[in-house]
Symmetry: C2
Subunit: 434 residues, 2 copies
Amino acid sequence: MTTQNTQAPLRLGIAGLGTVGAGVIKIIRSQAEQIAARSGRAVEITAVSARSKDKDRGVPLSSYAWEDDPVKLAARDDIDVFVELMGGSDGPAKAATEAALAAGKDVVTANKALLAIHGHALAAQAENNGKTIRFEAAVAGGIPVMKSLTEGLAGNEITRVMGVMNGTCNYILTRMESAGLPYAEVFEEANKLGYLEADPTLDVGGIDAGHKLALLAAVAFGTQVNFNNVALEGIDNVTIDDIRQAADMGYRIKLLGVAQMTGRGQEMRMSPCLVPAASPLGQLEGATNMVVLEGNRVGQIVLRGAGAGEGPTASAVMSDVIELARGSRIKTFGVPVDSLQSAPAAQASAPAAYYLRLSLQDKPGALAKVAAILGEAGLSIDRMRQYDHSDTPIAPVLIVTHRASREVLEAAMTGLEGTGVVEGTPVALRIEEV
Amino acid sequence: MTTQNTQAPLRLGIAGLGTVGAGVIKIIRSQAEQIAARSGRAVEITAVSARSKDKDRGVPLSSYAWEDDPVKLAARDDIDVFVELMGGSDGPAKAATEAALAAGKDVVTANKALLAIHGHALAAQAENNGKTIRFEAAVAGGIPVMKSLTEGLAGNEITRVMGVMNGTCNYILTRMESAGLPYAEVFEEANKLGYLEADPTLDVGGIDAGHKLALLAAVAFGTQVNFNNVALEGIDNVTIDDIRQAADMGYRIKLLGVAQMTGRGQEMRMSPCLVPAASPLGQLEGATNMVVLEGNRVGQIVLRGAGAGEGPTASAVMSDVIELARGSRIKTFGVPVDSLQSAPAAQASAPAAYYLRLSLQDKPGALAKVAAILGEAGLSIDRMRQYDHSDTPIAPVLIVTHRASREVLEAAMTGLEGTGVVEGTPVALRIEEV
């Protein structure tokens, strides 16, 4: 222990010099002494790689070797850790990560897509080479959630994990509410502000947040990461009316991820849900992220912070780098790859109350017909409201159901569409007990 | 890495078998396989010690060696880690911890008082022997705050740490508000519920929370732990009227710890403060704890969870135990003892707005006199209210000041006491920008 400071520096190769890469370089340059004190050894950058060598990134690069090819960078003899900040589930990010592991490097990555899809194979490759992949920055940005889960709550059986982990979606939903604007308008606003990915369905379709949930679930429950088993639903069907009605009833709508093990398999959902307005999740505003971890011993732990951005994401990358510099050797998903279970997707999600919105034709007996169909399907009504519609022949109807399984709900929804009194497709949002 | 599971088990000696000790034993007995998978090796209990051997603690102890003397337990050849759960800043806890370190054991402790007062010397002793002291359970119970700070935010310069870290005080303050009861009555209630320490000033005087703040500050700023430099103020002067007036103005009163480095030294305060009702700290109800960590890169991270109790505290102890089982060797306060700075206490706290409550005699010109004295002291008034007092000759007056230094405030307070129109001692509570 007293000899740690005589250890050789930990040498990094960084691929990808966007805002996060530049942020990592800034931290290493400006806080070198502090990092060395905390790590027990110096942390140095040996080589970097990005698409364009000439772009000004606000940080001097001349003291680092340059590689055009990230795969070459990853395998260099003079690096110990490959820091992958390129992004993308395949292509150069995957090739370079595989090359790094093959060459006996540890890997630090912010790439949720890569790990959510190829994480199991990569973890196995890492373990076979006595190395590990760290990915704190891939989930909820600056919030130390992977560390809290893998290490801080290591004495717990995790019973449930929840999270609002896409800042753009939370921005859109809270902005719709505060400004009273429709989805399409706020979507355009977010686009102009540069909040959306090049392919916006990654955000608003829940894919990005779904990647994060798949990673959280694997570590929480010791299961093989499996993004395909995440039930995804985007926020594009949520209307300003839904938000207002939910608020009237004491709820707010969030793109919420929930993962838990059930008797029916592993449940992973990323979908717009109603959560109590007074709960920490309900109170979350703007682009901030929140993750809720529940353990059999610790109860509920809530973590809140910036989910994206140069500083927060670079902070998470540095946490992993310093952990490796200290010599920590935690397995990629917290336990050996062999002991990760292959969990089937839950065939049904845990029962819940649902919020339904439907547009009813103003015909005699229409409401009775709706009630009858819900009753036949076994869906019991807690509250029902028909709204004023003097200027239109279509009546908005809101229903809050008692707890029911998803199958019962879907049977009822299918029934409604065949009645001839319901216009369009009804909207159903789960009410989550958080 | 692939050979970890062939390592010898990590052997624990546990001193103190109250609820937390029993909780640790339950986890180790019921989650052994999971812990081994996460640690890379088995974790076993070799020996235990407590005051009474015969007491039923709800866990079987017959397979562990028994020691009447914790000092003997700590030095046993057949333990690797000494788990200190006795409590108390001196006496057996200190003697046994020193004996464990002298015998070359790592130490895991939940003892905030011991470390807040003797932590620097103990950390030095640990380091000299190549060992470490882990104390996740000592601060904010089940919340993985030490791990988040030392490791999760290791790439940051920490700029400020805040926390509501005494569940009993937060219970009393929120119960006063929700039930509209005076302090003395809720204090008695809490006492009957067993929420208070044997010496209740440890809770309501802010001492227990102050110990935690001293530990957080040492790790956050790389300074020598120094409980004597914490400016302490208890909650016993907070009235139900203060709570109501604060609520009227959009604030709630919390026993809040704040630590930061300033140009004037290290500021550590544990005192009742007004915080915005809409902030995460303001929304914290009941016995829950919350810690806010602010870093130059990550921004603000908020952590929330149970601050006490068998399960949460045992969870934190196990986090440290599993960390040691994995072979992690982080220094006691995050950096080598030699590099911990000796920081002088800030001679003045950062300027803030203050809430003042005073009882004014109903004489002509009394209010003008108060205003004049505040003006002379340089204390500028933001808002002022005099309340209805038709049934008494004493008028309650509330003042919210503009930002001022503590010295200006105190000069004004002293001035008020000499006016002859103010009854008793005015109350001043800081308004914290969280």
